[in-house]
């Protein structure tokens, strides 16, 4: 992934992260939580040009859920509401025991993609999501067994070290997701993203998250550097200062920007080809 890809008009994968698992309607009244709400958001984002939807399951009261049963209900609803969008389940879960972290991988059918956190991160003042090497390995092994493409969540340069050390274990092309924001993520700046990309091994595909107000500039830069983009209410709840966003509007803006920059938004079929997915 290089500036050459931008010049060549390579399609851009737009991922919609619809709800996350940390925040809920207490922070954004229209953040989708129920399977029906998330499915409707997924359909709207697919229509707006997203080819991947990133899913977290919830309990009825909006609290986090990791069970296969809750993910099955969610993914069934999303499949019913959408046409061909690629479903990606989260395996993140601060404080959740390792066995629960595997459960989102065990739906029928399995998701085409799943997130894989590549190292520890801090939450609030007193929590840490450990994401030990052992857990990363066991989650990846189950993804291989179930033909699930991992999206490698690289929160910072330490996680990049962890990822590069085991890169040969991942099928071609490895797909990394770089996070820029506060806390344990990478300090958001154009120079930091440019440096990250410049030092990537050949053949790696990458996408970018910018948290909060960093979503628009960091994802736009990713397009220029040949990368892909992730947008949505999980990462950013405002369209602009003081104005609440919707998932659909964030996707529509990302699609408009990449197309105006000469890179069309990838269709689900093009995304499968770019990432080596075999479909379901």
């Amino acid at each position: 992934m290089t500036y050459r890809d931008y010049l060549d008009g390579k399609p851009t994968i737009v991922t919609a992260a619809l709800s996350g698992g940390v925040q809920g309607k207490e922070t954004h009244p229209d953040l989708p939580e129920s399977p029906e709400e998330i499915a409707a958001a997924a359909a709207a984002c697919e229509a707006a040009g997203a080819s991947v939807v990133h899913l977290h399951a919830r309990r009825e009261n909006g609290e986090r859920a990791f069970s296969t049963e809750r993910f099955q209900t969610l993914t069934d609803a999303v499949r019913e509401a959408t046409d061909d969008v690629i479903i990606q389940h989260s395996t993140g879960g601060t404080a959740a025991p390792d066995d629960l972290r595997h459960e989102p991988l065990r739906t029928d059918p399995a998701p085409e993609m799943a997130s894989l956190d590549m190292g520890p991160l801090n939450r609030y003042e007193r929590l840490t999501s450990e994401n030990t090497r052992a857990l990363v390995s066991s989650l990846h092994a189950e993804m291989l067994d179930r033909d699930i493409k991992p999206e490698l969540e690289v929160f910072n340069d330490g996680h990049l070290n962890e990822t590069l050390a085991v890169l040969e274990e991942f099928e071609e092309p490895p797909y990394m997701n770089f996070l820029f924001g506060g806390g344990t993520t990478s300090p958001p700046s154009p120079r930091n993203l440019a440096n990250r990309v410049e030092n990537l091994p050949e053949g790696v595909e990458f996408t970018v998250i910018g948290l909060g107000r960093h979503q628009l500039p960091m994802t736009t830069q990713s397009i220029l550097l040949g990368g892909h983009v992730r947008v949505g209410l999980e990462d950013n709840q405002y369209y602009e200062k003081g104005e609440r966003a919707t998932n659909e509007r964030l996707v529509a803006r990302a699609v408009r920007i990449t197309e105006e920059l000469g890179r069309p938004a990838a269709t689900p079929a093009e995304t499968r080809e770019l990432l080596g997915l075999r479909g379901r």
């Binding site: 940390v22 925040q23 809920g24 207490e26 986090r64 404080a95 506060g182 990462d235 405002y238």
Partner: protein
């Protein structure tokens, strides 16, 4: 402590908002609780409200003192109020 937080309630209304399904509400911060924090409030997954929540106030204190500033906080929101969900 491994029991649910004594400051946890479930409400459909509060903090100038209302919901169809009762949600976790913190009586210390007087606000609805984010989903991940609710796992701390409920002492799920081995979490301990007294140890793992920065808003927790010892429920049995009788000295009439104020909240320890190291334990209490005014702002229950996340650091990045514009949305910064870091569990992928």
């Amino acid at each position: 402590m491994t029991e649910e937080c004594p400051h946890l309630t479930y409400r459909t209304e509060g903090d100038d908002r209302s919901f169809d399904v009762a949600r976790a509400f913190c009586t210390v911060t007087d606000s609805f609780v984010q989903p991940m924090r609710a796992d701390v409030c409920n002492a799920r997954y081995g979490l301990d409200p007294e140890r793992d929540c920065e808003f927790y106030v010892a429920p049995e204190r009788t000295d009439g003192g104020t909240v320890d500033p190291a334990n209490g906080a005014d702002d229950p929101t996340e650091t990045d109020a514009a949305g910064g969900d870091e569990d992928r």
